[in-house]
């Protein structure tokens, strides 16, 4: 284990869809530009992934679609069960406590850890929100699962979060379909922050938005990161977004991590041919 400021240490994370065969490795991976074995049709979504995440840091995960970055994120989110590997977690509020392997927790503890210590924001709001509830109800969900039982207090907290995420608090009881795309991303962020999580997971959060709206949402995220020293895992296919927010970055291709390091270094001096391709094709 490394220096005490780490919050997450993932190693050996694997996820495949299909039975696998002895020849999979021969035909899949970045060198073959392929994720699916032609013999047994197994998709190797994530292969032997690992990284360290420090408190207060933003780690970017960049790659094209199908690279495995969302799979990796969802394994950290404890939503997709990993086939193998470890995710060691050290709770920032109790730095002297023993680290816990999140993948060894039972379903009940997983569910409650996820609700309490993690926050997630999806590209599409319907994945992170329930369109049948009000905006306030959506933001309240994590609080309610954490046993908040006073409606007055809950609503006060919701309004607080809405202000924090630059949403008009008087719209607390409105239906989500009356909100624009950018506003719904803010609602997701408000919901994610409601439990004061120690880690925020962001999955392509600006990829569906207009440039100007994108910029505002990114500004918000940057502000929250700065004010709360929030640890974040940020997935994007857009190097521009990564550059704005992530101090360190890992690059994925065909399920493998091909390069990792300081964002600035990677952008200036990419080592892996795929990273070079990415950097050169970015605006």
């Amino acid at each position: 284990m490394t220096a005490p400021t780490w919050i997450l240490q993932a190693s050996g994370l694997n996820k495949q869809y299909g039975p696998g065969c002895p020849r999979c490795q021969q035909f899949t991976g970045p060198a073959h530009n392929n994720s699916q074995c032609p013999i047994c049709n197994t998709v190797h979504a994530c292969v032997d992934a690992g990284f360290t995440l420090h408190q207060g840091e933003v780690l970017g995960i960049v790659g094209e679609s199908g690279s495995g970055k969302s799979t990796l994120l969802q394994m950290v989110n404890l939503a997709t069960p990993a086939d193998s590997g470890h995710i060691w977690y050290r709770e920032p509020r109790t730095p002297d406590a023993e680290p816990v392997d999140l993948l060894q927790m039972d379903a009940y503890r997983s569910r409650h850890f996820r609700n309490d210590r993690l926050g997630i924001v999806y590209q599409r709001p319907e994945l992170g929100l329930n369109m049948r509830f009000t905006v306030g109800g959506n933001v309240a969900e994590k609080l309610l699962l954490a046993n908040w039982r006073h409606v007055g207090n809950i609503r006060a907290r919701i309004r607080e979060l809405m202000e924090q995420t630059e949403l008009p608090p008087e719209r607390i009881d409105d239906a989500p379909h009356t909100f624009s795309g950018g506003m719904l991303q803010r609602v997701q962020i408000a919901k994610a922050l409601s439990s004061s999580p120690s880690l925020l997971l962001l999955d392509e959060v600006t990829s569906g938005l207009d440039l100007s709206v994108q910029a505002r949402v990114l500004d918000l995220i940057r502000r929250i990161q700065w004010e709360q020293q929030m640890t974040m895992l940020l997935v994007s296919h857009d190097l521009g977004v990564i550059k704005q927010l992530a101090r360190r970055t890992i690059v994925m291709k065909n399920g493998h991590i091909v390069e990792s390091g300081l964002t600035d270094q990677i952008l200036e001096d990419p080592q892996h041919p795929y990273t070079q391709l990415l950097v050169s094709s970015a605006l």
């Binding site: 009940y108 569910r111 609700n115 109800g137 699962l145 039982r149 409606v151 007055g152």
Partner: protein
């Protein structure tokens, strides 16, 4: 016909293997208060939705020495109660009663009797819809996982939304409660008046859903916590000043019905009376004996 059809059937109608399965599932339900236990619900001569779940529980546990009471909406003489009692009586020969205090097994639809039940009594409730999560998750597979992980957040959001939209907890009956601090349970269409009777009670409560094929139970001395907020508490239907027009009770669940004025076709009035008719009758008898006129 010299032989009435019922004589061709087993004691309690369903066969012994079926009874055994039902009893095993009942035991499992008692061991996991509030948890829905699947059972292979048999088809009965009564239609699905009309009490087949409650019937199968009663058929599985009843023996020749039991004394049976059957009520519907609290009334022994309601047509459906009469019909179910008829089926049970003919296939078992047991003595039946309308007196709550004399019965060993009471099968009921939508009410818990007003007189508190004792530890030697069992109340069998008929359940139409089983899963309290159906409002937020109709898919059974996903709802089962939610129960397994105690993942009730969405149901609490539903309660929050009802407060926000209607100014109060909007659920009238089938009120969701947490049983023994663990499972969320649908209390069936009993009025909220009756919900807390399940809490810390002496008697055993068994819930049977024939069509949905589930059994659940609230054993004696089990905690029942209705879903509520600190600033929006669970309330019963109690209205101050309510009174039964027959027996004068002010502390029972009342229902209203329209009384037609035989002298004036356009006239008539609404009358409230106890839903628990046998309890009401007892009080009327007491009143008459004591020569107290009802208010």
């Amino acid at each position: 016909m010299s032989t009435t059809p019922e004589q061709l059937y087993n004691f309690g109608f369903i066969d012994e293997d079926s009874k055994r399965e039902v009893r095993r599932q009942i035991l499992k339900a008692i061991a996991l208060p509030g948890h829905q236990v699947p059972f292979a619900s048999r088809d009965l001569p009564i239609a699905r939705g009309w009490g087949t779940g409650g019937l199968q529980i009663t058929m599985a546990i009843i023996d020749a020495n039991d004394i049976l009471k059957v009520i519907d909406q609290g009334d022994d003489e309601s047509v459906n109660a009469v019909n179910l009692r008829r089926l049970l009586q003919r296939t078992t020969g047991v003595t039946t009663t309308v007196d709550t205090t004399a019965a060993s097994i009471i099968q009921t639809r939508h009410r818990i009797p007003e007189e508190p039940m004792r530890r030697d009594q069992i109340l069998v409730l008929q359940v139409p819809m089983v899963d309290p999560l159906r409002w937020v998750e109709p898919n059974l597979e996903r709802a089962t996982v939610m129960h397994g992980e105690s993942d009730y957040g969405r149901m609490w959001v539903y309660m929050y939304e009802s407060v926000v939209k209607a100014g109060d907890l909007r659920i009238a009956t089938q009120y969701p409660v947490i049983v023994a601090g663990r499972y969320m349970m649908d209390t069936t269409p009993i009025p909220r008046w009756d919900v807390m009777r399940l809490h810390n009670a002496e008697a055993l409560f068994l819930f049977g859903a024939g069509r949905e094929k589930r059994i659940y139970a609230v054993p004696p001395y089990t905690t029942i916590e209705p879903l509520q907020f600190e600033d929006f508490r669970f309330k019963t239907e109690f209205v101050a000043g309510q009174i039964c027009a027959r027996c004068g009770a002010q502390d029972t669940f009342l229902t209203s019905h329209f009384v037609v004025d035989t002298t004036n076709p356009a006239g008539g009035y609404w009358r409230t009376s106890c839903s628990d008719t046998s309890f009401c009758d007892k009080r009327v008898l007491v009143n008459t004996t004591n020569q107290e006129a009802p208010q």
